[in-house]
């Protein structure tokens, strides 16, 4: 027997983005839309226990939210705003009860929330709040900022959308590829924050789950852009390893040492299916193909390192960056031996000297090559730069193995 609370929670999880997106389109007001939907859910929690759960909970909630929004527009819009409000009220009344008969407005919402004229942390917070329906408190906890700080960040972002005239629209065809990249960047950052938190405990699985949900949504809304599918695959193939990545004491376990029976085979199968049917014409698709090489290998020694190295070659041609070059060097080292990798790493020192992964990778290759003293120095450098506790403990443990 499901309780009223569970039904409302479920509707809140599944329908917030879509309901709020449509209410914003009509009212042009994020706060009115969000609060109307919030109040509708609270009203359901109050009244459904006595009156029973309606046959179509989503339709009930959407109607209640529309009515709340109409009340607010009637009450709050004064003077010159009254004419616009009257038109909005008429449009809200005409929307009908069945939210799913209305074209999906979530795409506009995503593009507005991820607009490049907003600060990156504001884009992330706004997307999680309005598209994913997380509460301010949940987002504040996930990003380890005080709730009032996050609340201000959201308020400022919404004010900028209004005052700077950020459009609530899907960009025209010629601007679409670039703007889609912007949206994917936000989704990937949400995932990374969950997967490799910059501070504190290593994995925040709920952020990863939200990122996967957002990536799926984007892929569903614009299915012909294969990069969104690539992003879904990449996230699934990484998230599949989450249970094996951390030991009982919260320490990091590297790919090589993970118990692969603990990988989530269902997620892997879904990710591999996407990789196998996608072209490789974008960076997310390439990274997914690389992740697939790892996830396909039953044992670490079965990993197809030459293929990974050649995929990194492709990625480096498409998006040259020192970090891609670093990963490529590691793949080459695994395929052809530590010295081959170290020769590729050395020229990157200038760009990556402040990046702990660079020193950790170098230390690892030096250790594998039996150059203990140099490895120890590189571990020290990585330890001086790392911010995450679990990674620090991992590096410190490795450091003791090469202690001289």
């Amino acid at each position: 027997m499901t309780t009223v609370g569970e039904v409302v929670d479920r509707a809140y999880r599944d329908d917030t983005g879509r309901a709020v997106a449509t209410l914003i389109r009509v009212t042009r007001d994020f706060d009115v839309a969000e609060e109307a939907w919030q109040e509708a859910c609270e009203q359901a929690l109050r009244t459904w226990p006595q009156r029973g759960v309606p046959r179509d909970p989503t339709a009930w909630l959407f109607t209640a939210a529309r009515n709340r929004a109409i009340d607010r527009l009637r009450r709050e819009r004064v003077g010159r705003e009254k004419t616009a409000a009257a038109m909005q009220i008429a449009e809200l009344e005409a929307l009908g009860d069945d939210m799913h008969e209305i074209p999906d407005d979530r795409l506009r919402l995503l593009f507005t929330c991820c607009h490049p004229s907003l600060a990156l942390d504001a884009r992330i917070a706004l997307t999680l709040r309005t598209v994913a329906g997380l509460t301010t408190r949940e987002i504040a906890r996930a990003f380890l900022v005080p709730e009032p700080t996050l609340g201000q960040r959201l308020t400022r972002a919404k004010r900028k959308i209004r005052d700077a005239g950020i459009p609530y629209a899907v960009p025209p065809r010629e601007a679409l590829p670039g703007r889609l990249d912007d949206v994917r960047t936000v989704v990937y950052l949400v995932f990374n924050e969950g997967y490799e938190a910059t501070e504190g405990e290593l994995i925040r699985a709920d952020l990863c789950t939200e990122a996967i949900r957002l990536a799926r949504l984007l892929d569903h809304l614009i299915p012909d852009d294969t990069e969104s599918g690539g992003l879904v695959a990449l996230l699934l193939l990484q998230h599949a390893r989450r249970a094996a990545r951390i030991d009982a004491s919260g320490d990091l376990i590297t790919l090589e040492d993970q118990d692969r029976s603990r990988w989530d085979q269902q997620l892997i199968d879904e990710g591999l299916a996407i990789v196998d049917r996608s072209p490789r014409d974008g960076p997310y698709q390439l990274q997914a193909a690389i992740a697939a090489c790892h996830d396909r290998a039953p044992r670490p020694e079965d990993t197809d390192w030459p293929r990974i190295a050649s995929l990194y070659d492709e990625l480096a041609r498409m998006r040259p960056s020192p970090v891609v070059a670093l990963n490529r060097a590691v793949a080459v080292a695994m395929a052809d031996g530590p010295d081959a990798g170290l020769r590729l790493l050395d020229p990157l020192a200038g760009d990556l000297d402040r990046y702990h992964h660079f020193h950790a990778a170098r230390a690892d290759l030096l250790r594998r090559g039996g150059r203990g003293r140099e490895a120890a120095e590189a571990y020290d450098r990585a330890l001086a730069l790392v911010a995450n506790d679990a990674e620090r403990r991992y590096l410190a443990r490795r450091r003791t193995e090469v202690a001289v």
Partner: protein
């Protein structure tokens, strides 16, 4: 909505240009201005004289303080502006990206309050 597009560029680099290069830049500005006017998007637009001609004025406790030079010494200086009227920020950004100085300098896009 109305937006002010503030054009920041290194004025010394502009002064160092050859006659020919400068003619090119002005021609590109003329073309953009004509296009914006034809679409009814331009309300105003001007090039400013260099910051060496700038005067900064303050009044403090009733006392007038007049100093030589721009308000702030920066690497790129305010050298001109467009005042445009377009639908939204994306349209304003599209126009900003067509301003000739955008390749060497920066364009700040500022909505006019209640514009």
């Amino acid at each position: 909505m109305k937006y002010l597009l503030l054009i920041y560029a290194d004025e010394h680099a502009f002064e160092a240009m050859s006659e020919d290069e400068r003619r090119h830049v002005y021609a590109a500005y003329d073309e953009l201005m004509k296009d914006l006017s034809a679409k009814g998007q331009s309300l105003a637009g001007d090039e400013l004289a260099p910051t060496s001609t700038a005067t900064t004025v303050q009044v403090r406790d009733g006392e007038r303080l007049v100093t030589d030079g721009p308000f702030a010494e920066t690497k790129e200086q305010l050298g001109g502006y467009f005042l445009i009227d377009v639908d939204d920020l994306d349209a304003a950004i599209d126009i900003a990206a067509r301003i000739p100085s955008v390749h060497a300098g920066s364009i700040e896009v500022r909505p006019v309050a209640d514009g």
